[in-house]
C-alpha cells in the first residue's frame, strides 16, 4: 500500500490552508509574502509526494522550478515593499488600495 501518502498530502493541505488564511487576515505585507511562501512550499510538498509515490520525476522537476519562481517573486515583492516604505507610507495592506481600479 501507499504508507504515509495520505499523511503527506494532509500536511500539505493544512500548510496551504494556513498560508491562505495568513494572506487573507494579516495586514502587514511582509507577513502576507511569507504566507505566500508557505502556500508555495505546501504545493512543493504535494508535488514531491506525488513524484515519490507514482514513481515519476516530473514532480521533483517542477518543485525545483517552483523554488526558482518563488525566489524571483520574493525579489520583486520586497523591492515593491521597500519602494512603498520609502514613499513614506505605513506598511499596511488596507492602506495600499489605490491600484484597485
Amino acid at each position: 500500500m501507499n504508507g504515509l501518502f495520505p499523511g503527506f498530502l494532509t500536511l500539505s493541505a493544512a500548510m496551504f490552508a494556513l498560508g491562505a488564511l495568513g494572506v487573507m487576515v494579516r495586514r502587514n505585507p511582509l507577513v502576507v509574502f511569507m504566507s505566500i511562501e508557505l502556500m508555495l512550499n505546501a504545493g512543493n510538498l504535494a508535488l514531491v509526494t506525488y513524484a515519490r509515490y507514482t514513481h515519476t520525476m516530473a514532480g521533483q522537476v517542477f518543485a525545483l522550478i517552483v523554488i526558482a519562481v518563488a525566489a524571483s517573486e520574493v525579489v520583486v515583492g520586497l523591492a515593491l515593499i521597500t519602494g512603498v516604505y520609502r514613499s513614506g507610507r505605513r506598511l499596511d495592506i488596507d492602506d495600499l488600495s489605490e491600484m484597485r481600479e
Binding site: 501518502f5 495520505p6 507577513v31 507514482t54 515519476t56 525545483l64
Partner: protein
C-alpha cells in the same frame, strides 16, 4: 520512518501556525525558517535528497536572509493580536480546517487512489531504487535538460525579468507615488 514523519510534520505545522499568528514580523520569519527545515526533512523521507539540499540552501538560506534583512531595514512595529472572535478570522479558520479534512479524506480514497490502493495513472519507471542506482542528481538533471527543457528556459527568462524589475524598482530618486 513513521516517527520521523510525525516529528517533522508537527514541526512543519507549528511553524506554519507561527507564521500566521505571530504578532512580530521577525517571529513570523523565524517560524517560516523552522517550517522550511522541517520540510527539508520531509523531502529526505520522500527520497528527494537534492531538493532537500536546495530547500535548505535557497529557501532557509538565501530567501529568508533576504526577508530578515528587509525586516531589520524597515523595522515594522507589532500588529495588534489576531482575535479569534473576529468574524473574518473565525470564518477563515473554519474554512482552513474544512479544506484540510476534505483533502485528507480524498487522499485516503478518492480521486487519485483507487479502492485497491493503486494510482489511477499507474506507476512510472522512476522508482526510488532505480533513481538512486542511476544517481539522484543525474536523473533530475537529465529530466530537466531533456523532457522539461522548455519550462527550464522559461524559468531562466523569468529570473532575468525579476532581476531587471527589482533593479528598476529600487533605483534612487524613484519612489512609488
Amino acid at each position: 520512518m513513521t516517527v520521523i514523519f510525525g516529528i517533522a510534520a508537527v514541526l512543519a505545522f507549528v511553524g506554519a501556525v507561527g507564521v500566521v499568528i505571530s504578532r512580530r514580523t521577525l517571529y513570523s520569519a523565524l517560524s517560516l525558517v523552522g517550517n522550511m527545515i522541517a520540510l527539508a526533512v520531509l523531502f529526505l523521507l520522500l527520497d528527494a535528497q537534492f531538493l532537500a539540499a536546495v530547500q535548505i540552501i535557497v529557501y532557509a538560506g538565501a530567501v529568508m536572509v533576504l526577508f530578515v534583512f528587509i525586516i531589520a531595514l524597515l523595522a515594522p512595529g507589532a500588529e495588534e493580536r489576531l482575535r479569534p472572535v473576529e468574524l473574518r478570522v473565525l470564518v477563515g479558520g473554519i474554512a482552513a480546517v474544512a479544506f484540510t479534512v476534505m483533502v485528507g479524506r480524498l487522499a485516503l480514497n478518492g480521486i487519485t487512489v483507487t479502492a485497491s490502493g493503486q494510482f489511477h495513472g499507474g506507476i512510472g519507471p522512476f522508482s526510488p531504487q532505480a533513481v538512486n542506482a542511476h544517481g539522484q542528481v543525474q536523473t533530475l538533471g537529465e529530466q530537466l535538460f531533456t523532457t522539461f527543457l522548455l519550462p527550464f528556459e522559461v524559468t531562466s527568462l523569468l529570473l532575468l525579468v525579476a532581476a531587471v524589475g527589482a533593479v528598476y524598482l529600487s533605483r534612487h530618486r524613484r519612489t512609488l507615488r
